[in-house]
């Protein structure tokens, strides 16, 4: 049971990492800011600019 719970936690963490939600949390923590629409937009703009200069794999 503990193993299943651990696997589920890992899966959610992976999905949050893939969805940039973890990166956003880290961004808020690193800059001592709270969540807001403007903050997300600022983070997202920077994150996506960085993300989409790399080619995606075939």
């Amino acid at each position: 049971m503990r193993l299943i719970r651990k696997a589920a936690r890992l899966l959610v963490a992976l999905l949050r990492e893939l969805g940039d939600e973890n990166a956003y949390r880290r961004h808020l923590a690193a800059h001592h800011r709270t969540h807001s629409r403007e903050e997300w937009q600022k983070f997202s703009q920077e994150r996506l600019r960085w993300k989409f200069v790399h080619p995606k794999c075939c």
């Binding site: 990492e17 893939l18 940039d20 990166a23 997300w40 996506l48 989409f52 794999c57």
Partner: protein, 681 residues
């Protein structure tokens, strides 16, 4: 006791691998169960991972968990961030898994299941996984530098510029060929076309939702997006049955190609948050989900492989693409065995997120082994189809005949019986008007997947849903690669043109953005159009070109890896990267030479041009085909010259270091003691 148990377990895995591989190789004449492929592949990956990769990690790379990684030293909470190894494993796998490992094996199945399967397993364990692992290691020890930067620093300026040009050229061919796969999958299919068209407003809705209504809720909006996409599959069924709407969404190959070209231009110029990013999130989640579903489906259904171990087309007369097993099987399957494109990912995001050096072992080697397993699943899905159906779907009209009767007669004469009635019934079951001549691999893969999914529950009644679900899954992430790739190609072109005229290099200068976006779209759009109007189906010429390009990029990555190993250990461990490098150079240069100079018109571009010239037909279409064949020959030659340049440059560097006439200067960042606590990752 634990040690003995461990030895016994690994001995059992080795015996299982040997027995399964032996059964695959020696079985003739009877259908074989797909589980043999699964056992052979999984056990071989496990042995490669536990013994070969660990040897490379411990003895060659000398990985050290006390050494701080760039993620720790340069931690900024953004791109440099120590990440849990299993999360990073999933992240890296999601980044390297594209349409290549799905489509390549489906096309190579024309040789039978055995050649492709053996290449996928052996190529991955000794080549692809090693390449990904070593490039990841090199980048991790160099502050997460890119392949081009490392090539410039380790090999020299020529190597760096050649790597940049090779990547740009490959992106153009890659975008053309995957766009062709989508066009061929949607041609004449109102159901599929509606579903894919619907993903665009859905993505825009997701973009707006994420930016204005529920900022930061990516998983939430992706779930909503997925529900809407599934609804659009049902909507597509209604559209295909509507007398008014069906003709609107029934498009020819040329119309679809033009739509994709126009779409590519706008998608690359639009703000990323509006279309590209939300669809990228959605396609990543769908991709991982479908790969998992397919693995579960194969284990539950355990389909028989209906295609033989070797087909009659090993002689080079295959209808899907012409050419013998050597070298064409090895360039048709790239991503499932070894893919140069992975080296861009291994020197991109991943090295900046590794918390401890030993995490590179599962992330670099293990992720590629999993990708290789995806290729095995695609091979199973294709080979589980009736061979007659497989060839009827994948063979172009120019080879088997334009009419249904001619096609079934040709395919049946090859020894793969199929009737028009079989194909009509199958088309009706999956909600399509026609399944003949649907080249490109995507429709036959979708058929194979749909059969596996339907057999786990629902049966024939929901075959149509699963077929279009599979088409949606393939098209969704192919379109994401097209718009992201166009954008990246635009940045690279701006980077190059900025040296000629500075304003062109500015990514915020709108005329420059429009001009370079248009140049990239026109470049891949031209090859796409060429593929669509090609009477041999386009895949025959474009997929080998893409395979050659991709494997040549792998050769560039292995040149870099060898240079680093020579600088670290002299000639002692060169064989690790030189063995796959020698194989790839042999394969790609042979394939490239044959694609240019083979006297067989279906293989050689120049022979094809000569045959068309000699036919005496001088209309505009024929002149265009002649020009295209010659252009393909030139492109192929350019690829070979680019890689020969980097190869010669690398050999010069290795010889200098081994003779002692050149300094073996390693550009690794100096050792810094890691202070990262285990609970932080």
């Amino acid at each position: 006791m634990k040690r003995i148990l461990g030895h016994t377990l690994w001995a059992a895995v080795s015996v299982a691998a040997a027995f399964a591989l032996g059964s695959l190789a020696l079985n003739r004449g009877e259908p074989i169960n797909s589980l043999w492929l699964v056992v052979a592949a999984v056990c071989t990956y496990l042995i490669g991972f536990r013994f070969y990769a660990k040897f490379i990690a411990a003895k060659v790379m000398v990985l050290d968990n006390d050494r701080a990684t760039p993620a720790e030293r340069l931690r900024n909470g953004h791109d440099f961030e120590p990440t849990n190894k299993w999360i990073l494993f999933g992240h890296h796998f999601a980044a390297i898994a594209g349409p290549g490992p799905l489509v390549g094996p489906v096309l190579a199945a024309q040789f039978g299941y055995l050649p492709g399967t053996l290449w996928i397993i052996i190529g991955a364990v000794l080549g692809g996984c090693v390449q990904d692992f070593i490039i990841l290691f090199c980048s991790m020890r160099r502050d997460g530098k890119s392949l081009g930067q490392m090539a410039r620093e380790e090999i020299g300026k020529v190597g760096g510029i050649t790597a940049l040009l090779t990547v740009l050229a490959i992106i153009i061919i890659l975008l053309a060929v995957i766009a062709l796969v989508v066009v061929n999958a949607l041609k004449g299919s109102p159901w599929g076309t509606f579903t894919i068209a619907a993903t665009m407003p859905i993505a825009v809705f997701m973009g707006l939702y994420l930016r204005y209504w529920r900022p930061g809720k990516v998983l939430e909006v992706s779930l909503i997006g997925f529900a809407l996409v599934v609804l659009s599959i049902f909507g597509g069924q209604a559209v295909s049955q509507s007398a008014t709407l069906a003709p609107i969404f029934t498009l020819s190959g040329v119309a679809l190609a033009l739509s994709v070209i126009i779409y590519g231009f706008f998608a690359s110029a639009l703000p990323v948050w509006l279309l590209l990013a939300p669809r990228d999130y959605l396609s990543t989640f769908v991709k991982l989900g479908v790969v998992f579903m397919l693995a579960v489906g194969i284990v539950l259904v355990r389909p028989q492989l209906e295609l033989p171990a070797f087909s009659r087309f090993t002689d080079g007369t295959g209808p899907i693409f012409a050419g013998k097993i050597f070298p064409f099987c090895f360039i048709t399957i790239a991503c499932g065995a070894i893919s140069g494109f992975h080296s861009l990912i291994s020197s991109g995001t991943t090295p900046k997120m590794i918390g401890k050096e030993w995490h590179a072992w599962p992330v670099g080697y293990g992720s590629m082994a999993l990708e290789s397993f995806v290729a095995i699943m695609a091979m199973i899905a294709a080979c589980a189809l009736q061979p007659g159906v497989y060839f009827a779907v994948n063979s172009p009209a120019g080879v088997v005949g334009a009419t249904h009767e001619a096609a079934v007669s040709t395919i049946t004469a090859w020894g793969f019986p199929v009737t028009v009635q079989d194909m009509t019934t199958l088309a009706a079951d999956v909600g399509e008007h026609d399944l003949f001549h649907r080249t490109g691999g995507a429709p036959s893969l979708a058929l194979g997947m749909a059969h596996i999914f339907a057999r786990t529950g629902g049966g024939r009644a929901i075959l149509g849903f699963w077929y279009h679900f599979a088409i949606m899954f393939e098209a969704l992430f192919i379109l994401t690669i097209i718009d992201a790739g166009t954008r990246v190609g635009r940045f690279m072109l701006q980077d190059l043109l900025g040296h000629v005229w500075k304003p062109l290099g500015r990514t915020s200068w709108i005329p420059g953005v429009i001009l370079t976006s248009a140049a990239i779209v026109l470049a891949w759009g031209y090859f796409l159009y060429q593929g669509v109007v090609d009477p041999l189906g386009g895949i025959n010429s474009l997929w080998p070109l893409f395979g050659i390009a991709n494997q040549l990029l792998a050769a560039v990555a292995l040149c870099l890896a060898t240079t680093v190993l020579v600088k670290m250990h002299g000639a002692r461990y060169m064989w690790i990267t030189c063995t796959p490098l020698a194989w790839l150079v042999t394969v790609t240069f042979t394939a490239g030479y044959q694609k240019i100079f083979s006297p067989v018109p279906r293989v050689g571009f120049l022979a094809q041009a000569a045959e068309l010239s000699a036919s005496g037909v001088a209309d505009a279409a024929t002149r265009a085909l002649i020009f295209n064949a010659r252009l393909d020959a030139v492109v192929c030659a350019v690829f070979l010259v680019l890689v020969a340049t980097i190869l010669v440059d690398s050999i010069r560097v290795w010889a200098g270091i081994l003779r002692g006439t050149r300094e073996a200067r390693i550009t690794e960042t100096p050792f810094v003691l890691s202070r990262l606590r285990p609970e932080e990752i």
